[in-house]
């Protein structure tokens, strides 16, 4: 039987506010346990929540960016359950009336086609604390520093049909929240994570299969692996006569499998009801207009502009707009070079990206800045050096921090454009390789490359490639 997978994601993005959603303690990551948990975060008797304006503004920013409906009236509710990382015994979230509803994002599939992924809702809520187990025999330690950190939970429609689509969608959201500067997107620190609802159904069947929810996936790789594992598990289960049960599962990256979560076995009855400590959030047009006016150029808009303005292929435009910083870097290089936007794109996506990757650096910490790279590209354009030499120069720039010009000067890499000098080198190579010359002249055209290589070697790679080609052709012809 042929199966179809149905996936919906619930993405949790921590909002990049300074203080918590309902208290004025810091949200910074990595502080000593419980040093950033105040009385409100600890759920002390008598304390009350007060809503952070910035969290609301950020949620609205997200809603506007996905073309969603911004609720003029939204309500916080309590989700009641007992868990040690949940100090009040309830999580303040939004249930029936979320702040953002009915938006969508477009993802690009492998075959280049575009697919619209619906976003049911995005609501504000507070993050929980953390349970730590290491080094504590028989007990768990509770750190509530994270408790009360603002989250936006972004719930997609069950529109995704494969693990790849799910990852493409998650990456899209990841790019977007960083563009909007509402989330730092740091997945290792848990700032951006998701739960995946996965089910399978016979192809052509309308009705959804029973779904399992895989909790707390905090890397794109895990999302892909966990979903693929889960799809296989469900198909095998059904084909062997079993039934998928609706449950919460945890992905174990070491074993590469998902397993049922024992702690969530008991059917939860969250007893949601409006939080009486908080009033309805009422947003007026002027608030929303101010947020709208401050929206940056969004990734899709920027990519379309790159195609239009720089005549880049869609693929390049997509890569270069993966983050706001990368797009800005690229545009700065183009602006300084003043021409050849495609060549600039190749450098940013090629050597620069490779070196960043090698040193595990973000574009913001690049050892070669936009001005430095622009100068190098300009030296290619003005024929001071060849593209090939430029690669060596770039490596030297990366390692030493020197400018392209300084390296070209110091290493004497200036390209040879003097026709007579190139001709001398060609003549020398011809005289040293009479056999190859004879073969070439008797019709072995492929040997042209051999002669190019030999001349380049003789000139230390500095001969201008175009001139060399031209002159070599003439000389070899005899």
């Amino acid at each position: 039987m042929e199966w179809e997978t149905v996936i919906g994601l619930e993405i949790h993005a921590q909002l990049a506010t300074r203080s918590k959603i309902f208290s004025s303690s810091a949200t910074a990551y990595g502080a000593a346990p419980n040093t950033q948990a105040n009385l409100v975060d600890l759920g002390y008797p008598g304390v009350l929540p007060v809503l952070n304006a910035e969290a609301v503004r950020m949620a609205v920013r997200f809603g506007l960016a996905i073309g969603a409906r911004i609720a003029r009236h939204s309500v916080f509710a309590r989700k009641n359950y007992f868990y040690p990382d949940l100090p009040k015994g309830y999580q303040i979230s939004q249930y029936e009336l979320p702040i953002v509803a009915e938006g969508a994002l477009e993802i690009v599939l492998d075959d280049g086609t575009r697919k619209r992924v619906g976003i049911t809702r995005a609501h504000l809520e507070e993050d929980a604390g953390k349970s730590l187990h290491e080094g504590l025999p028989g007990v768990s330690g509770i750190d509530l520093n994270r408790a009360g950190t603002p989250l936006i939970e972004i719930v997609s429609e069950p529109d995704l049909r494969s693990a790849k689509e799910a990852v493409a969608y998650m990456k899209k959201v990841h790019t977007l929240v960083r563009y909007l500067e509402i989330c730092d997107g740091n997945m290792q620190e848990g700032s951006f994570r998701c739960d995946a609802n996965v089910s399978v159904r016979p192809k052509g069947q309308e009705k959804f299969g029973t779904r399992a929810e895989i909790k707390n996936l905090n890397s794109f790789r895990f999302v892909e692996k966990a979903i693929n594992y889960e799809i296989e598990r469900q198909i095998e289960l059904i084909e062997s006569g079993g039934k998928v049960v609706q449950e919460t599962r945890l992905y174990d990256p070491d074993k590469g499998e998902t397993r049922s979560m024992r702690s969530k076995e008991e059917a939860n009855d969250y007893r949601y009801f409006p939080d009486p400590d908080l009033l309805p959030v009422e947003l007026d047009e002027s608030f929303i207009d101010v947020v709208r006016a401050a929206l940056p150029e969004l990734p899709d808009e920027k990519a379309a502009r790159f195609v239009r303005e720089y005549q880049l292929p869609e693929y390049d435009a997509g890569v270069l707009t993966a983050s706001r910083e990368l797009g800005a870097f690229y545009e700065e290089v183009v602006r300084r070079v003043g021409s050849e936007p495609k060549l600039c794109a190749n450098w940013v996506m090629g050597d620069l990206a490779a070196f960043l990757n090698k040193d595990n650096l973000e574009i913001g910490n690049s050892k070669v800045d936009a001005a430095g790279l622009a100068l190098l590209v300009a030296r290619i354009v003005d024929q001071t050096i060849s593209g090939k030499i430029a690669k060596d120069v770039f490596e030297a720039m990366w390692e030493s921090g020197e400018s392209a010009d300084a390296i070209i000067e110091r290493k004497g890499l200036r390209q040879i454009t003097d026709t007579s000098a190139i001709e001398r080198a060609i003549e020398e190579v011809m005289s040293k390789n009479p056999g190859q010359l004879a073969d070439y002249r008797s019709g072995k055209d492929k040997l042209f490359g051999f002669f190019v290589g030999q001349v380049m070697k003789a000139t230390g790679g500095k001969a201008n490639p175009a001139q060399l080609n031209e002159l070599l052709k003439q000389k070899l012809a005899g």
């Binding site: 002390y44 007060v50 100090p87 015994g89 009801f273």
Partner: protein, 489 residues
């Protein structure tokens, strides 16, 4: 009780004496502390007496006065219901759960009254987590009514009412979720005021039912209430439900004449269940108001009889969630050697909460649970809307509603503990104001068989000044509020 007599018993009187230099705050504080100690075994009104801190605060108040930096309340002793968090002082909420809880912070009410110069004598006994109408659910034992120690003082602010009635504290803070200020005030023959929801900050007041809880006062007189309410009211940025609205000068408004005041009698309050003698006292009080120039008419609030069932859905629902934080992890009672996480929760909570608190948590858990939420919780919230609308309609034609505070006078300790419904019906006249967020008062209007009877006043939102004015004018005509139980005179 054998303890020193007092030079005066109202906040206003004490404040005048302090201002005139007739006595010092230290003298007053010593006198009240002596009365607290002498009465404790009989009344059990206090959970904690902060004698040392009180005397230090009194000395500081006297020094401030000597330095010319005194305000009206500087040096006046008061006491706080043990539901208000007090920094570095035991704050138990009447529960075993918090029997060892020392608050690291002050409730806004506590901080404001301290800033106004009052001296805190200690923490007053109460029904556990304010759930009760008789003060019998306290982990620290029942409070007794100074008018008859076999009887309850009412609840949940029973300690506050008994302390003021016995003049062992000049005034006390209190809280009211369904009548917990007004009903004990009535049963103890003292003045109680529950302000408009949002008038006084709830920050630091241990929550029972957040949409109904409101802090207020129990005092000897309306004038005392006016003096203290001004100091404890006002906007608090820490409480999202606190209302940002100017606090009027309640004292300045006290003397306004009542001519033209339109009083409404809620027909439904006189229909059934009201003790005949109590009704007689209420009618007599209304006659006093007519004499003072008020006009009286009957109004109807047809949905008001549904206020008790509405309340017993809404309040338990909120409490079941509010009390989930007591889990034995960060504060509060923790069971011995928990076997696992669930055992830690279930046993800590099972042991830490008393029978009535558990009953309400379970009721609330049930009405919010899947399949029952709409039928109970949402239904009750709809009826709450109807009750609110009834009040709003009534206030289109009258300024204040008058009626009984409680259907009977104080009953005997133990008489109703086994019958929750009968106990709940004690609050039949008071709950409506909480559901609608309205201010309410109870003032003493006489006795039935030697036990105090209270008259309830309910006004529109933020009508505290008018209500205090009406209560004060009545108290100028009568002296019921100045009567003291013989044993405590």
């Amino acid at each position: 009780m054998t303890a020193p007599a007092l030079p005066a018993t109202t906040v206003a009187g004490l404040a005048r004496g302090l201002a005139a230099g007739r006595w010092s705050s230290v003298e007053l504080t010593q006198a009240y502390l002596a009365r607290v100690t002498a009465s404790q075994s009989e009344l059990n009104a206090f959970v904690t007496v902060t004698a040392e801190a009180a005397l230090a605060a009194a000395a500081a108040a006297d020094a401030a006065r000597a330095a010319g930096k005194a305000s009206a309340l500087t040096g006046v002793p008061i006491a706080h219901k043990d539901i208000f968090c007090t920094r570095d002082v035991l704050t138990t909420c009447g529960s075993k759960m918090l029997a060892n809880f020392v608050s690291p912070y002050d409730a806004t009410v506590v901080a404001k009254l301290a800033a106004a110069g009052t001296v805190n004598l200690g923490k007053l006994n109460m029904d556990e987590f304010a759930m009760g109408s008789s003060n019998e659910t306290s982990f620290f034992g029942p409070v007794r009514n100074p008018w008859d120690i076999k009887r309850v003082p009412g609840g949940s602010s029973g300690g506050s009412a008994a302390a003021v009635a016995a003049r062992i504290a000049p005034a006390a803070t209190a809280t009211d979720t369904g009548g917990s200020i007004r009903q004990p005030a009535a049963l103890c023959g003292v003045t109680g005021i529950k302000p408009t929801y949002g008038r006084v900050s709830r920050y630091g007041m241990i929550a029972f039912a957040s949409s109904l809880d409101q802090a207020g006062l129990i005092t000897v007189s309306a004038e005392d209430a006016a003096m203290l309410l001004g100091a404890m009211s006002g906007f608090d940025p820490r409480d999202s439900t606190s209302v940002d609205r100017e606090v009027p000068d309640y004292v300045a408004a006290l003397d306004a004449p009542l001519a033209g005041l339109k009083i409404g009698l809620v027909r439904e309050f006189f229909e059934k269940g009201l003790d005949a003698q109590c009704e007689q006292r209420i009618r007599e009080a209304i006659a006093v108001y007519e004499k003072l120039g008020a006009s009286v008419r009957e109004v109807s609030c047809p949905n008001l009889p549904l206020s008790v069932p509405t309340y017993y859905v809404v309040a338990p629902a909120e409490c079941s969630s509010n009390l989930a934080r007591f889990d034995g992890v960060r504060f509060g009672h923790r069971c011995e050697s928990p076997r696992n996480l669930n055992d830690l929760y279930s046993r800590s909570r099972g042991e830490g909460f008393g029978a009535e608190v558990k009953r309400r948590i379970m009721t609330g858990t049930y009405v919010l649970s899947a399949g029952y939420y709409d039928a109970y919780y949402i239904k009750a919230q709809r009826v709450r809307q109807l009750i609110s609308a009834d009040f709003a309609r009534a206030f289109e034609s009258v300024d204040l509603l008058l009626g009984p505070t409680s259907p009977t006078t104080a009953f005997e300790i133990g008489a109703k503990v086994d019958d929750p419904i009968t106990m709940y019906l004690n609050d039949i006249y008071t709950i409506g104001a909480n559901l609608a967020g309205l201010p309410g008062m109870s003032i003493p209007v006489g006795f039935a068989d030697g036990l105090p009877v209270g008259l309830q006043l309910v006004g529109p939102h933020f009508s505290e000044a008018r209500m205090l004015n009406a209560a004060h004018r009545y108290q100028l005509e009568t002296d019921w509020h100045l009567r003291v139980p013989a044993a405590y005179a």
